[in-house]
């Protein structure tokens, strides 16, 4: 679709700045909506839903722990230029997103503005604590934020984000609707295929490293038999690992799951002593060669799980 040159709300500031501050115009795509995703899965979704009308970048890569990011200068510049931020929310980015927003000087993306979109706010969360203090670890009061590995929730998030794109960029509403329809029908078909394929996993038991697999395992009806972290956010200790080993002897687990950005030491220790297969999975888009888009990510995770279990 040819891009339009008519000005749009999100671009007025850019135009003003192009006059006031020489240098800004260089290199910025003239009509694409600038999306700053906090994590790679949201960049992939924004690209799927916006195609040529969005220019999406991710603040983090698949090998970074999204809890532990610093608001470094290059991220402040990306936030300054964004028309919309697409983040997980539920306190996942609580250590750095507020600072990024503050330092960006960008009104469009502040909390409460249309250019501030949080995926986890669009869906029901698992593991919402009745009461939380930090003696239970780094528990998020809004529940488990790692929502992108349940394809049903992802579909809801896609619809909500598309609606937001249409609101910010009404000129291309029709385009965004068509993209959403195409994405949704492909995604629904993919879910059917994944669920059929994953049938053998139902009822198996998994030991995880951190609760970032909860949505995936809830969807696949895999039971969580234990967590390598004694408390969320606290690395495995030898005493806790010994307890887990004892548990697996009493009631065996089928697999141990770690994301490939996590330190696998504790998981390897347990896998060696218990003979339970250790599976290192890509956690998000870009986490392995096959996981180059959202469908590829789900395909890659499922095939590793099915091979291992």
């Amino acid at each position: 679709m040819p891009s339009s040159h008519r000005p749009r709300a999100g671009h007025r500031a850019l135009l003003l700045c192009a006059l006031a501050c020489p240098g800004i115009g260089i290199g910025s795509a003239h009509a694409a909506l600038n999306v700053l995703a906090c994590e790679p899965e949201w960049r992939a979704l924004a690209e799927a839903l916006g195609s040529e009308h969005v220019r999406a970048r991710s603040a983090t890569n698949a090998f970074q722990d999204p809890h532990h990011i610093e608001a470094r200068p290059s991220l402040i510049v990306k936030a300054r230029d964004a028309d919309i931020v697409f983040c997980t929310g539920a306190e996942l980015e609580v250590g750095w997103l507020p600072l990024l927003l503050e330092k960006s000087g960008n009104r469009r993306i502040q909390v409460g503005q249309p250019g501030h979109f949080l995926a986890a706010s669009e869906v029901e969360r698992l593991e919402v604590p009745v009461s939380a203090d930090r003696s239970q670890g780094d528990v998020h009061a809004d529940g488990n934020p790692h929502v992108h590995l349940d394809p049903h929730r992802l579909l809801k998030i896609a619809a909500a984000f598309s609606e937001r794109l249409q609101a910010i960029d009404p000129e291309h509403t029709e385009h965004y609707r068509r993209r959403l329809d195409a994405f949704s029908s492909e995604w629904v078909a993919a879910i059917d295929a994944w669920e059929a394929k994953a049938e053998p996993l139902r009822g198996t038991r998994a030991i995880v490293h951190h609760r970032n697999w909860s949505y995936l395992l809830d969807w696949l009806q895999v039971d969580v038999a234990g967590d390598l972290e004694p408390r969320p956010g606290i690395p495995p200790t030898s005493g806790h690992l010994a307890d887990l080993l004892q548990d697996t002897r009493e009631r065996p687990s089928d697999i141990i799951l770690v994301a490939n950005y996590q330190d696998p030491k504790g998981a390897r220790w347990l896998a060696e002593r218990s003979d339970i297969p250790l599976l290192e999975l890509p956690f998000t888009v870009g986490g392995s060669e096959d996981a180059d888009n959202l469908r590829g990510l789900y395909d890659a995770i499922l095939s590793i799980l099915l091979d291992g279990a």
Binding site: N61, F63, D65, E70, A71, S74, I76, G89, G105, E122
Partner: protein
């Protein structure tokens, strides 16, 4: 939850979904305590047990245009506890053209460490050059205007005006005693490493009459007294050494494998400070100067180790002439963090001084505990 926070939370309920990040007043408490084996030169910590920067901080959006922060600090020195208002400021939210205004009492933008809260530091105390020239951290009443420039790389510039009396020798009857300028650049070198560098200038209108008398090297209200004097003087945050011009160069570089700082990160930083025009009795070329360089390596999710070396050369006023003083200091530290919110630190500091008392080799044990609102991960 306190009544205040409950009130704030209920006020936010009217907002649409997606406002979880700002759903209540952020309340944070930092507990900072230490045991140190001996006195140190240019330090007010004393020996034995003590409380460092124990702070209570409240922050929240005021409305869609302003945010506010209030930070009170309790410090205990040799049995005396003092309460100080360290921050009380408003910030504007996203003015046009990347402009931002801060007004009230706040930490000055000069240098790299100065604008950061001390509990975010990797070492138990600020480097000697900061303790001598900035009173560990310089904050004051004033206003700041800064701008994030619309360049393809990170470039921020800022100007501040302060009342100025809390720097040594400041003229208390002046409306604007201190003006600062700062320029900061930064960027990524690769997916694994990033840098930031800055240049700062601080202009200080000296109270020349106070500077000329040895007993008045700091504020004239009796709170001062240069380190190295007899003990028992009241504690003060005032910088003990001053001049009309302060220049600071700062740089930091951080590396983590594929940018994942969770388990491994190397941070190398350094600053150079230079102060000249020390007063009417100063000779040509009289200046204070100092620097530090630090390397901190996180080698596991819970462990980090670091080394820092710094030197400072000072000119202390004695009537109509100056005495030279100098200090060389090396710190080695090891920190264990159970979670994101607790730190236990062991530090060895080696000092070698000329013209300063209390230069000792000391061992310090320190804890820093954070309660409440999640702190910000500044670069």
């Amino acid at each position: 939850m306190t009544a205040l926070a409950t009130l704030a939370a209920s006020a936010w309920l009217a907002l649409p979904a997606g406002t979880a990040l700002a759903s209540e007043i952020g309340i944070s408490v930092v507990l900072d305590g230490f045991y140190t084996s001996g006195e140190s030169a240019l330090s007010e910590r004393g020996t034995g047990f003590g409380l460092g920067h124990t702070e209570l901080s409240l922050h929240a959006p005021v409305d869609d245009l302003f945010t506010g922060r209030l930070t009170t600090v309790l410090e205990s020195h040799g049995g005396a506890t003092e309460l100080e208002l360290e921050e009380a400021f408003l910030d504007t939210v996203a003015l046009p053209f990347g402009l931002g205004v801060r007004a009230g009492r706040f930490l000055s933008q000069v240098g790299y460490l100065n604008a950061r809260h001390t509990h975010a530091d990797s070492f138990a105390e600020r480097p000697a050059v900061y303790r001598a020239l900035l009173g560990t951290h310089y904050f004051d009443d004033g206003a700041r205007l800064d701008a994030l420039l619309a360049t393809p790389f990170f470039w921020r510039i800022g100007v501040e005006a302060f009342e100025g009396a809390s720097l040594a020798g400041g003229e208390e009857d002046d409306d604007v005693g201190v003006v600062t300028l700062k320029s900061t650049w930064g960027g990524d070198l690769s997916a694994s490493s990033s840098w930031q560098a800055g240049v700062s200038y601080l202009r200080h209108r000296l109270d020349v009459t106070a500077e000329a008398e040895p007993d008045k090297t700091a504020r004239t209200d009796g709170a001062g007294g240069a380190p190295g004097d007899e003990h028992g003087h009241a504690h003060s945050h005032d910088a003990a050494y001053s001049g009309e011009n302060l220049y600071v160069l700062d740089a930091i570089w951080k590396w983590a494998p594929r940018g994942n700082a969770r388990a491994r990160q190397l941070a190398v930083s350094g600053e150079y400070l230079y102060v000249d025009e020390l007063g009417e009795n100063a000779a040509e070329g009289d200046a204070h100067e100092g620097w530090y360089a630090a390397a901190v390596y996180r080698f596991g999710p819970q462990w980090s180790a670091g080394v820092r070396h710094g030197e400072v050369d000072l000119r202390q006023a004695h009537g109509d002439h100056f005495h030279g003083q100098s200090l060389r200091e090396t710190d080695l530290m090891l920190t264990w963090a159970r979670s994101h919110f607790s730190q236990l630190r062991l530090q060895v500091s080696l000092q070698d001084a000329d013209g300063l008392t209390d230069a000792n080799d000391t061992l310090t044990l320190q804890y820093v505990m954070t309660l409440g609102a999640h702190g910000a991960h500044a670069f």
